[in-house]
């Protein structure tokens, strides 16, 4: 039967591939077929051609498109065959698997710095992953739970980072005081942003939040007197542990970790310390979000995502829900920013471009909107994949994009798209079937 459908579909598939190839031909003539080089006469540029390259491209596109369609067909057929069957992983089993994953991930995260293979590079990468998890957890509150699109989330990250950078360099405040401050300042901006967009949704919301992200970056770039413009802010102090510094020679007034504890000095201790700070922050944040989901405020976020009109008729104030969702998301973004500034010791507007917002959003969508475990998996994926693909040099981002497309085709709802109910009825046991 399979071959029958295939022969039946063959003309359509071939036509589709031919159209794609034609498009590739049209596009590749100017972009690939022609190129410029210094002309032999020594002066100016000459336009040269390499038509055989165009041939390769067209062939690749034709075959690729054909294979892609065939793979899609095969997937659809398999889905149809499996339609009536029980899923491979039952819900209860999924629950246990989820638990097991959380425990294993936690064990791995806590022991990572002590592993023999953990050098500077691994710790640095670990911190980057954790920062993205933190950011994605924040955005997950706004986008995943409350269903409010935010394309400018990086603004809160930037505000958190600059709050710490400026507070420490101008007023000499330390990391631990600035951490809550950064969060609060970012949350205040979250409230500010939420006010003009209360009535907006969908595309309009996307545009306004995108604008907010860009405005923040441009202000940071141009407010020379305060932010130092493109030069950024440098000389941000390192975090201390109960007043102990991790430098070999601590700044005046501070004791140093290796002197107080008697452990031999190693510059890696500072990295380990930073790693545990962000790990602690992430754990705290995930616990808080997990808890919030079970409180009326968290439930009202989810209800808002599901149906705003129904929310109102049940007495839920949508304004309060939206404002609190943006503020909570921004708070977590601010924490992440503060930590980022502390880790780098330097901030500049360059770190807070639109691509960051897009990446964080990609993590949330890829993980499955609203899923906290999904966010962790997707963060690992998004940060680590480009690292592993380093061997492919120039093609690294190409692979990255292709992998994202494949995941979305394979799991359109994200890696973990099954929403976990916040509460199951235990008090009425036996009332069920």
């Amino acid at each position: 039967m399979t071959t029958q459908t295939l022969t039946h579909r063959a003309p359509a598939l071939l036509k589709d591939a031919a159209v794609a190839a034609l498009l590739a031909l049209v596009l590749s003539i100017p972009f690939i077929g022609l190129y410029t080089a210094n002309s032999d006469q020594g002066q100016g540029l000459a336009v040269l051609s390499r038509w055989h390259w165009v041939g390769y491209v067209v062939a690749i596109v034709f075959v690729g498109r054909l294979l892609f369609s065939l793979a899609g067909d095969a997937l659809a057929r398999r889905r149809m065959r499996n339609a009536g069957k029980k899923p491979l992983v039952s819900i209860a089993m999924g629950h246990t698997l989820g638990r097991a994953f959380i425990v294993l991930a936690l064990l791995f995260a806590v022991t990572l710095p002590f592993m023999p293979y953990s050098d500077r590079y691994v710790l640095d990468l670990g911190m980057t992953v954790l920062i993205y998890i933190m950011l994605a957890m924040g955005l997950n509150v706004t986008v995943g739970l409350a269903g409010l699109l935010d394309l400018g989330f990086v603004a809160f990250y930037a505000i958190g980072a600059y709050t710490f950078a400026l507070m420490s360099t101008v007023f000499g405040l330390g990391f631990w005081i600035c951490l809550p401050l950064s969060g609060l300042v970012a949350a205040a901006f979250g409230v500010l942003l939420s006010l003009p967009i209360l009535r907006l949704r969908g595309d309009y919301l996307a545009i306004v939040t995108l604008g907010f992200g860009e405005i923040t970056r441009i202000v940071l770039l141009n407010w020379q007197s305060l932010t130092g413009g493109p030069n950024g802010v440098s000389g941000i102090p390192r975090p201390t542990l109960f007043g102990m510094s991790f430098d070999r020679r601590p700044p005046e007034g501070l004791s140093s970790f290796h002197e107080v504890t008697g452990i031999e000095f190693s510059s890696e201790h500072r990295l380990m310390f930073l790693y545990f700070i962000i790990l602690g922050l992430v754990l705290l944040a995930s616990w808080v979000v997990w808890k919030l989901r079970r409180l009326p405020i968290g439930r009202s976020w989810e209800a808002l995502r599901e149906d705003e009109i129904a929310c109102r008729s049940l007495g839920i104030n949508p304004t309060a829900s939206k404002v609190s969702a943006y503020a909570t998301g921004a708070l977590l973004g601010g924490f992440a920013g503060c930590f980022f500034a502390a880790r780098q010791g330097f901030v500049s507007p360059e770190s807070f471009g639109f691509i960051e917002s897009a990446l964080i959003l990609a993590i949330v969508v890829l993980g499955g909107m609203g899923s906290q475990v999904g966010v962790v998996i997707a963060s690992l994926f998004i940060v680590l994949l480009p690292e592993f693909a380093r061997e492919f040099a120039d093609y690294r981002m190409l692979l990255f994009g292709a992998a994202m497309i494949l995941i979305m085709v394979w799991r359109p709802g994200g890696l973990l798209s099954n929403r976990e109910p916040t509460l199951k009825l235990s008090s009425l046991k036996g009332a069920g079937p």
């Binding site: 109102r312 008729s313 049940l314 007495g315 839920i316 929403r419 199951k424 069920g432």
Partner: protein
């Protein structure tokens, strides 16, 4: 005693007048039905009571208090619960979570009793308790929507076309429950319906709305017997 009174209520959508001076009264313990053709302003009337959109003229009085300017979440706090048109349950949440959200405004100490009451009212919901609400059938979703509204312990229940898109047998079941709620719990109900026959049969009083105006009113049975009403809303309709 009058629980809800509308006097000369007008509502506009921009330049379009959806309600053009409507007087409606709902007394404590009554079932009042609004019937009318598509676009007569029935749903607008219910939504105006809830506070979105706001009336441009006239007064809406609830328990002696003018509620013209209250937003929907505030009128809900006064005990006015709306079962919106098209049910509007929370599809990705479980039946139980939907009911829990319905109880947002109620005192938590009543939760268990109210839940047991709702699950008894519609036993099918008991079986579907931990299922996603979006996977329920249309009739079950309507039952859930009504139950969710009841979880908030309302004193006035506004029902917007509960029979929309349901099979005749399910419609009968829903209307039985509505009548039962009124009889056993004394629930005051304002019902908007296209299905004039069923709606008029259980109504104490009824209004006929036409192009934003009340053109006829009277007892439910009385209107049901009225030849004009029969001609306009019942002939060939669902009996």
């Amino acid at each position: 005693m009058s629980l809800l009174t509308l006097k000369g209520v007008r509502t506009n959508y921009g330049p379009i007048e959806a309600l053009r001076g409507v007087d409606v009264e709902v007394n404590q313990g009554e079932i009042v039905t609004l019937i009318g053709a598509n676009g007569a302003g029935k749903s607008t009337l219910l939504m105006t009571i809830c506070g979105q959109p706001r009336p441009s003229a006239g007064t809406i009085t609830y328990e002696g208090r003018v509620i013209n300017d209250l937003p929907p979440h505030e009128t809900a706090k006064l005990g006015i619960a709306q079962v919106p048109e098209g049910r509007r349950i929370f599809p990705r949440m479980t039946v139980f979570e939907n009911l829990q959200l319905g109880a947002t405004l109620a005192d938590p100490q009543h939760f268990e009793t109210d839940l047991a009451y709702c699950l008894d009212l519609f036993p099918i919901l008991k079986q579907r308790r931990d299922q996603r609400a979006g996977t329920l059938s249309g009739g079950e979703q309507q039952m859930l929507a009504i139950s969710r509204a009841l979880m908030g312990r309302p004193r006035l229940l506004l029902l917007d076309e509960p029979s929309l898109g349901l099979a005749p047998l399910i419609i009968r079941r829903i209307f039985d429950v509505i009548a039962d709620l009124n009889r056993t719990r004394g629930m005051t109900i304002l019902l908007v319906e296209q299905n004039a026959y069923h709606a008029l049969k259980l109504a104490h009083r009824a209004y006929v709305l036409q192009q934003g105006l009340v053109v006829m009113q009277g007892g439910g049975k009385e209107l049901l017997a009225n030849p004009e009403v029969r001609a306009a809303y019942l002939e060939g309709g669902a009996h």
